[in-house]
């Protein structure tokens, strides 16, 4: 492969045609650069959406109450739906395919949390034990809320690690300590962290039954969340449908009424996002490859002009013994080398830009909506490299064949 003479010839021609070499290289550089940057932008968009999904179980279904929009069996439209503990029990016992299940009871008002002489405001969530799995909560100390807490309506709480940092002295274990929320003392049984960001780590979890009891013995549940045992899109759609049917029966609304309750199926949404992003990716590849093709056609044209320019030279070479193969090889190698080098530089600068933007955003803590952690996958790079070499060969092919057809006698008359 490494043939000093061949490279010598190539560098010779490059030196003799600096401008066209530059223009050729520029068009290929641009094509590859665009491809990489577009793919980076595409992945930034995709990653920002995946980032938003990151702390929720992907196979989860969230159920909220709404207002009926269709009259049903003598009942008027416009009724407000309410979930209670019965709905939780119903989902637990009567709906097939439900794996983890939790309700949420919304406490109203501000939550001033007191510990010692500290007094800070945090967010409180009151839940069932399974909530641990639904929010991808990661326990660092102690335990999460358990069934016994629920059954015995215990005054216990689980704190986010940021709360612990802010309320407790460094090195002090919060486990077993009591913190006061709205005047009621809760014993700390666990500490958690969450990959969903700082807001998630500033939360306090309480047993849902305890919260209901303190809110004047309410049976109400504001929101229900569950995961499915069969984590396929079909499986989760089936559970979604069963939930709707059972709820319709329990609350007497038309199963076709899509306003009575709202069901957010994360699996389905995730899949829809994936479909959209695959389309965007496809489009970006299309545009990127298009610009590469434009570059290749440019190279091919310039090489054709060069072959024309070099007709006499090629004729002389043939007269003194150059075989068609050696001529084809000369033109092809030059084309592959030029596109390869320019494309490689394009690849590097594209990467430089994408990762430069990324590390700049990370370093300066810049958060942009719809753009997060842009990256270009290794597979995409391999494909780009393959396209490069192939396009170099393609660009050189027509000019090379043209050169091979040159008749020495005719050529030398030039």
């Amino acid at each position: 492969m490494f043939d000093y003479d061949k490279w010598q010839e190539i560098f010779d021609t490059i030196r003799r045609h600096k401008l066209r070499t530059f223009l050729t290289a520029l068009s290929v550089w641009w094509g590859i650069f665009m491809l990489v940057v577009l793919l980076g932008a595409g992945s930034g968009l995709r990653n920002s959406f995946e980032h938003n999904f990151r702390d929720d179980a992907l196979n989860s279904i969230w159920v909220y109450t709404g207002q009926t929009s269709i009259a049903y069996e003598g009942l008027p439209a416009g009724r407000y739906m309410r979930f209670t503990n019965d709905d939780y029990d119903m989902l637990r016992n009567e709906v097939e395919g439900v794996d983890k299940l939790t309700g949420r009871y919304y406490l109203t008002g501000e939550y001033v949390v007191n510990y010692g002489n500290q007094s800070l405001s945090f967010d409180v969530r009151t839940v069932h034990p399974d909530h641990l799995y639904l929010e991808n909560t990661i326990m660092t100390h102690g335990r999460f809320i358990n069934q016994k807490d629920i059954d015995e309506i215990r005054k216990v709480c689980v704190l986010g690690d940021i709360i612990v940092e802010e309320l407790f002295k460094e090195g002090q274990s919060p486990l077993g300590e009591y913190v006061q929320v709205k005047g009621v003392d809760y014993q700390v049984v666990g500490v958690f962290t969450d990959e969903g960001g700082e807001n998630e780590r500033r939360r306090i979890y309480l047993p849902i039954t305890t919260a209901q009891r303190i809110d004047s013995g309410s049976e109400r549940v504001h929101q229900l969340m569950l995961t499915v045992t069969d984590p396929t899109i079909e499986g989760s759609k089936a559970v979604e449908e069963r939930v709707r049917q059972q709820m319709a029966r329990l609350h007497q609304f038309d199963p076709a009424d899509d306003q009575a309750i709202y069901i957010r199926n994360n699996m389905r949404e995730y899949q829809q996002f994936q479909t959209v992003f695959n389309m965007i990716d496809g489009f970006l590849w299309f545009v990127g490859i298009g610009s590469i093709i434009a570059g290749v056609i440019g190279v091919s044209n310039i090489m054709l002009i060069i072959v024309k320019e070099r007709t006499k030279e090629i004729g002389v070479r043939k007269a003194i013994g150059a075989t068609p193969r050696s001529i084809i090889g000369m033109i092809l190698l030059e084309s592959v080398f030029l596109t390869g080098l320019a494309g490689y530089v394009g690849l590097l600068s594209g990467f430089g830009l994408v990762y430069g933007i990324n590390s700049f955003m990370v370093a300066n803590n810049i958060e942009v909506e719809f753009f997060y952690n842009p990256e270009v996958s290794f597979g995409a790079v391999l494909i780009a490299l393959f396209i490069l070499v192939l396009s170099g060969a393609l660009a050189g092919l027509i000019p090379a064949l043209q050169a091979a057809r040159i008749q020495p006698i005719e050529a030398m008359k030039h």
Binding site: Y4, D5, D12, R16, K312, E313, G315, V316, R317, K318, A319, I320, G321, A322, T323, P324, R325, S326, A404, P408, I409, M412
Partner: protein
């Protein structure tokens, strides 16, 4: 021994067919120094191109030694040219961006000979034609006569059995022409066959045998003697 048997060649342009060679029979012995003369358009270059395997012929046989040169692929023709033949043209046909020695060495590149050896041999042949000091000059920096000497060195470097020269002195003044012909005579004295197309009688007189082309045929010597 070079042998042509009833070689015919015609060119077709549009609807017209022009018969250029109408049955050439010719033998050239190894080591001979031959010139080809004839009026313009008589087919001298065509004949030389066939001898040089740069062009095909329509019918007949061409033997280069024991090799029947007929219906060859481009690659086969290129290899035969490279191994057995050297070319000198009226317009020199040097590569303008390569130095004198690189031009001389070029045929060896296609024999895959290493660069160092190519250079050694090129310098030897440049010395042979009296241009050693000009080895690193570009053709544009050389006079016509010097360029033709470089071309001759290039034709010699593969040690061919035959050198084909199409009006090698056509672009040169008469003093330079004579020194170029002197060089061919020396080359020929080493046993290399030289075939030289020319318009000029004094140039042709410097060769051992003159072949006259007329109307696509070789004029027999007897007739020509009559004509003179």
């Amino acid at each position: 021994m070079i042998k042509l048997e009833n070689i015919r060649k015609s060119y077709t342009t549009g609807f017209n067919t022009l018969e250029v060679l109408k049955g050439i029979d010719l033998e050239i012995r190894d080591g001979e120094f031959v010139s080809i003369m004839g009026s313009s358009g008589s087919g001298k270059s065509t004949l030389l191109n066939i001898l040089g395997i740069l062009d095909n012929y329509d019918s007949g046989n061409y033997y280069l030694g024991d090799i029947l040169v007929k219906n060859l692929s481009q690659t086969q023709a290129a290899k035969l040219r490279n191994q057995h033949l050297g070319f000198v043209f009226q317009s020199f046909n040097l590569l303008t961006f390569k130095s004198a020695w690189e031009n001389v060495a070029l045929p060896l590149y296609y024999q895959k000979i290493p660069r160092n050896e190519r250079k050694d041999r090129a310098l030897k042949y440049l010395e042979r034609v009296g241009l050693l000091e000009w080895a690193d000059h570009l053709p544009t920096q050389l006079s016509g006569g010097q360029q033709q000497r470089v071309a001759i060195a290039r034709s010699l470097i593969t040690q061919p059995r035959m050198i084909l020269a199409d009006e090698p002195t056509g672009a040169l003044d008469s003093t330079t022409s004579h020194s170029i012909m002197k060089l061919f005579t020396d080359v020929n004295a080493e046993g290399i066959t030289v075939v030289c197309v020319t318009h000029e009688h004094d140039i042709a007189e410097m060769t051992q045998r003159i072949i006259y082309l007329k109307d696509g045929m070789i004029e027999p010597e007897s007739q020509r003697a009559d004509a003179n």
